[in-house]
Every structure is written in structure tokens, then in C-alpha cells.
Amino acid sequence: MPFKRYIEIGRVALINYGKDYGRLVVIVDVVDQNRALVDAPDMVRSQMNFKRLSLTDIKIDIKRVPRKSTLIKAMQEADVQGKWDKSSWGRKLIVQKKRASLNDFDRFKLMLAKIKRGGLIRQELAKLKKESAS
């Protein structure tokens, strides 16, 4: 029931609206009740409304408004990208992106693979059923 992810300096968030949709950013300062200053290694530091950010579980240890190089070092030490790619949320996004980029031949191969997998599963199931029946 209580909130678990807070807006704080060092909180890693995902942009969910706008030009930078899908980018991971770090909250570097709070401007006012509605806006934060966010920064990422490949982005110009800018202010963003909280409504455009989805907070993640990842938090890094930085002081208020660090230099870009300090920020990049802190992000690498905390392995933000690695933690993100391992998390279930991050993995989901990677799969979504891969699915969207499949071309027609890839989709066909995927269908064949799914049918094959289903066949194997059904074989195993039939074997288990026979064993339990006997």
C-alpha cells in the first residue's frame, strides 16, 4: 500500500511520453512540485514533468546536480544498464522491441519454431500421461 519508489536524487526513471520515449534517465535535481531535472549519458540535461517519468527500482549514489562525467562514472559503477537489462521490466521491453523488428521471413520462422515446440511439449505430456495411467 505505501509507496516504494520515491522521486529522489539518483533515482533511475524511464521516459514514457514524448520525444525521448523509452530512454533511461537519472533524476539529478527537483525543480518544483511537478518537475525534475533529468540527465542521461547521451542526452542534454533537461527538465521534465514527473508525469512523463516512470520510476524504476534502480537508484544510484550521486550528489545533487553532478557533472556529466561524474554522472557517467557513477552510472557505470552501479551498472545501471546491466541491472536494467536483467530486470523483468527491462527484459520485457527488449522482447517487445525484438518482436516489432521481425521481418516477414522471421515471423514465419518463429511460427515454425512455435509449432515444433508445441509438438515436443505434447509428446512429453503424452509420455507422462501414459506413465501415470499405467
Partner: protein, 228 residues
Amino acid sequence: MAPKQSRNPELIRGVGKFSRSKMYHKRGLWAIKAKNGGVFPRHDPVAKPSPAAAKPSKFYPADDVKKPLLNKRNPRPTKLRASIAPGTVLIILAGRFKGKRVVFLKQLSSGLLLITGPFKVNGVPLRRVNQSYVIATSTKVDVSGVNFEKFDDKYFAKKVEKKKSKGEGEFFEAEKEEKNVLPQEKKDDQKSVDAALIKSIEAVPDLKTYLAARFSLKAGMKPHELVF
């Protein structure tokens, strides 16, 4: 001859670098005058040969005759989409082969695309198809071993038969016998084109079954979001 370059560079539109007197000197008009004894040389107009006496028309139309508008259209084959190159797999969208995945060979001079199934794989023969009724996928087949130079629009033209005199009694029988049989020559052409193609298709796993299957939209597929 190259267009004449002006000796008076333009500083801004309408303003040259050099004044009239400077340009007079630069163009060498003083030298031309000197050569001609202090005056500009005068060229008399060349006498034009008088036109041969045209006979007066015997007939003038009563009302004005409209001249048709000038048509300077230069017809050329349709521009081929950048995504279509020899060997690309295309999806046909209309006609009896709709949904079939087919290999593109070349663009003919009429603008239509020459394609082949290959026939053994999916039943699509050497055929012409319009670019607008085709989706180009990003899958490519190697067509370097195929010789399709000899195919052009004339190859696909309908055979014009001489009309025989109508014999009313034999009408229906005659019609049935004239069913179109594909000449052996065309069947051989198909086989020769497909032989090399099928080899390069079998080199890629699953490509043969891919070409044999038809494309269809399933639930949840949004064509504007699909990558082909």
C-alpha cells in the same frame, strides 16, 4: 559552346563590379573600333531567301478549327521502389495468386515487374505483375545464376488468332478445341529459370517452405506497424 561568361562579376543582384567605361575597356570595344577605322563595324542584315510563292488556299473553313494542345509527354517505365531489387521476395496482393510469396527478377520496359514462383515451389509461373499490387519484403534470394535477359513484354503478349469464318453447325465444337495449351517452349523457359533459383533457395533453411506458404493477416497484426 559553353554559355558566355560575363566579365563583370555581380556584387549584388543588379549591381556589377565594373562601371560602363571600365567594361568598355574590358570588352575591347576600343580595339574593335580601331580595327574598323574609328567606328563600330556595321553588319547589314542578311537577305533572307524569299519564300516560294505559296498558292492561295482553295478552301477556308467557315468556323475556326481548334488546334489540339501540344503534348510533350515523354513516357517512361514506372519508377522502381528502392526496396525492390532483383532477388527480392515480394508478396502479391491481388489476383489469383494473392498472398503468394514470389521472387522478383527484373523490371520490364513497360514498367511491370517480372516474377516467378518458382513454379515448382508455389505454382506461380513466369509472370508480369504491377508494382502497386505488391509488398516488398526485406528477404533476398540470390539470382546471380539465373539468365532472364530474353524475357520482355513481347514474350507475354496474347497470341492473335485469325478469325475463321463462322460455321454455325460446328460453332461449339470448334470453340472447345481451341483451348489454350501452354507451348512446350514456355514450359522449358520456366524450368531453366527455376533450376538455378531453386538451388539458391534451398541453400537457405526454411526459405522453400516460406515461399510455398501464403501470407495472411492474423489477429493482432497491424499492417502499418509490421516490418516486412
